[in-house]
């Protein structure tokens, strides 16, 4: 055996690549990943499964490697475009973010040698809302002996996906809350799907609020809404050949009236029944609406209970903070759900 588990753990992102390879493309394993599987299998089945001992807590280390900020942060393009996700601070630090001030300097038409009224710019800062996500699970030694490397690969994937989905849901809830009924980018729709009127209003609003920092406007929501927008009158006129073939492939457009479209599943739910991307709403974002900072590093703890022959795994400290710093750059269409 020329692959050591510890050498796999030392490589950035390797464990995620391996776990995803096992899960999604297991017939097409790269030789390197196949070797990791073999080493993992031997170690899990023999050492962990049969003696219940994992002295270096390597299962915990693997999960920890899979959910470090660097791996998780890139999970969703939409979150990356709607929020500034660069910041990372220490576990015992706090942050304050500046809200981009409006330019409220009033200019007067004057002459030399006198005064006009002063006007002011107000700089404000905002404190992020901190969230610390935690999940616990257990895996029996029997399952480890039977499933070997697959059990662990599956566990790594599931925990990572669950944390990702929860984070995305929390951020979208914040975004949703920022665009209230009095917000000028709030559009209501009396039907169950967005129409040309509301979609155009949203597109126009985003175009108006975009500034020099805006890198394209985006529009996202559950697939049913994106599908409806793609089917609006005139939406498919003047497509390039490339756009046509994309449209023919899935019935969704890449763009509508200057907004890039992103559709999300309406059936994928968090445990508990909430959709990850809420139903009834189509969001639009022109640039960065807020900031997200990762705080500290995730902690994964494991303990083997030899009485019940289970390994208890606890993931906590998946901690991040967010704040809406520029709510004006977001808009939404609220449809009337029957």
């Amino acid at each position: 055996m020329n692959t050591e588990i510890s050498s796999v753990l030392a490589q950035d992102g390797k464990i995620v690549e391996w776990a995803e390879n096992v899960k999604y493309r297991s017939v097409n394993m790269t030789p390197e990943n196949a070797e990791i599987s073999e080493a993992m299998d031997a170690w899990l089945k023999e050492t962990v499964g049969r003696t219940g001992t994992d002295p270096n807590h390597e299962i915990a280390q693997m999960i920890m490697k899979a959910i470090t900020p660097a791996v998780v942060a890139g999970a969703s393009e939409v979150i990356d475009r709607a929020f500034d996700t660069e910041a990372a601070i220490g576990e015992f630090d706090d942050a304050r973010w500046e809200i981009a001030p409006k330019n409220t300097i009033k200019v007067h038409d004057g002459i030399v040698g006198g005064n006009v009224n002063r006007s002011y710019i107000d700089f404000k800062s905002v404190a992020p809302t901190w969230k610390s996500l935690q999940a616990e699970t257990e895996v029996t030694l029997q399952e480890i002996r039977r499933g070997g490397y697959r059990t662990v690969a599956e566990l790594i994937n599931k925990i990572r996906e669950a944390l990702d989905a929860k984070k995305m849901n929390l951020l979208l809830t914040a975004l949703d809350g920022a665009v209230g009924a009095t917000h000028s980018g709030y559009f209501t729709e009396s039907t169950a799907l967005p129409t040309e009127t509301s979609a155009q209003k949203l597109a126009l609003y985003l175009m108006d609020v975009a500034d020099e920092n805006t890198n394209g406007c985006i529009c996202f929501g559950q697939n049913k809404y994106i599908q409806a927008i793609s089917g609006l009158t005139g939406a498919t006129t003047y497509l390039t050949d490339r756009e046509k073939s994309l449209y023919n492939a899935n019935g969704l457009l890449k763009q509508y009236a200057g907004m890039e479209l992103f559709g999300y599943s309406g059936t994928r739910k968090l445990p508990g029944g909430d959709a990850i991307v809420p139903s009834g709403k189509v969001f639009g974002v022109a640039g960065k609406v807020g900031k997200v900072a990762t705080r500290g590093e995730t902690v994964v703890l494991q303990e083997t209970d030899i009485n019940s022959e289970k390994i208890h795994i606890k993931v906590n400290g998946y901690s991040f903070g967010y704040a809406i710093t520029d709510a004006e750059k977001a808009g939404k269409i609220v449809v009337t759900e029957s």
Partner: protein, 144 residues
């Protein structure tokens, strides 16, 4: 089915025998002299039955899921889970009609039901619904 939500690790999980057919997760009464458990109708001294998955027959080819070990035959070897104060469990062996969060519950013929006359002494508190991958009617309770 019984799921351990927040439990003490390292406590003993005694292997016992059933004296009648029952369902996984049922509340049982234990007789130390015979080492057997039977469906409980009591508010105190109640334990729960759990089973170890087996890999006989088709299970040796196809990995079984948690939902496949619900029925327990009379005389089968099972695991006895002794609830300890401060723990959280979820079970589907419960009658939830008329139960509201915070109600005391006790065992009746193996099922957990609302406690009326023994409410002052019943050791379990009903918490609410629990989302489970295998069962729809799972409910959480707390051990006082």
């Amino acid at each position: 089915m019984i799921r351990s939500l927040q439990v003490n690790s390292g406590k003993v999980v005694e292997i016992v025998e059933t004296s009648e057919a029952m369902t996984r997760g049922m509340a049982v009464a234990y007789t130390p002299a015979t080492g057997k458990v039977a469906k409980a109708t009591a508010y105190a001294g109640v334990a729960f039955v759990d089973v170890a998955p087996n890999y006989d027959g088709i299970n040796s080819m196809v990995t079984p899921n948690d939902a496949q070990f619900e029925t327990i035959a009379s005389g089968a070897k099972v695991l006895k889970i002794t609830p300890v104060s401060g723990e959280h469990y979820a079970t589907n062996q419960i009658t939830v009609t008329g139960l509201a969060a915070g109600d005391k519950i006790e065992a009746s013929a193996g099922l957990l039901i609302k406690s009326t006359t023994n409410a002052a002494n019943a050791p379990f508190v009903y918490v609410g619904a629990y989302d489970d991958p295998d069962f729809t009617g799972m409910y959480e309770f707390y051990v006082l």
